[in-house]
């Protein structure tokens, strides 16, 4: 299990890679065959997916459509953004 410091680092990684994925998506919308951009997309989106999976496993879901439930809706168990996290 990771400590709080690692949790923040992981979340920062998700934030930054999400941003770059948005940038790449915008670029690729108009340059859909750009090899260098496609390669970068493969790398960054892979890291982002991995980080989200790791975070979700350790701390709970951060994307509501990835919520995996046992016997209760896990989405509401973590603090809401206005409760001091995120």
């Amino acid at each position: 299990m990771m400590d709080g410091n690692n949790r923040d680092k992981l979340f920062a990684c998700i934030e930054a890679t999400s941003f770059v994925c948005d940038e790449l998506r915008l670029f690729l919308d108009t340059h859909p065959t750009d090899r260098a951009a496609l390669d970068y997309w493969d790398r960054v989106s892979k890291v982002r997916n991995e980080a989200v999976r790791e975070y979700t496993k350790c701390y709970g879901p951060i994307e509501w459509y990835r919520v995996e439930n046992d016997d209760r809706w896990a989405w509401v168990e973590e603090p809401w953004p206005w409760e001091g996290r995120c």
Partner: protein, 92 residues
């Protein structure tokens, strides 16, 4: 660009060039090919050859990236070429 396309499309009777049986765009087909505008490298200094009244955006290249995703996020773009000084103001 042929002005008749625009005058004609209003459908006013005074516009004799309007031909109701022809597609409105027929004059344009063949007049423009993708070679006219797309992927042209030589547009700089050749603006007089562009149709007026339209907006043009210089083609972006995948180059001059910030070194990593954290720098990109803090700058608000991953492209150094798009990291420009904000000079926005109202035009009053």
């Amino acid at each position: 660009m042929d002005k008749r396309n625009y005058h004609g499309s209003t459908g006013r009777k005074s516009m004799s060039s309007y031909r109701p049986n022809d597609p409105v765009c027929s004059d344009m087909i063949g007049g423009y090919t993708s070679d006219d505008m797309c992927e042209r490298e030589d547009y700089e200094g050749a603006f007089d050859r562009f149709p007026i009244g339209m907006a043009y955006v210089p083609w972006q290249r995948f180059r001059n990236l910030y070194e990593n995703e954290f720098v990109a996020l803090s700058r608000g773009t991953m492209f150094k070429e798009l990291d420009l000084e904000w000079r926005g103001r109202s035009c009053k």
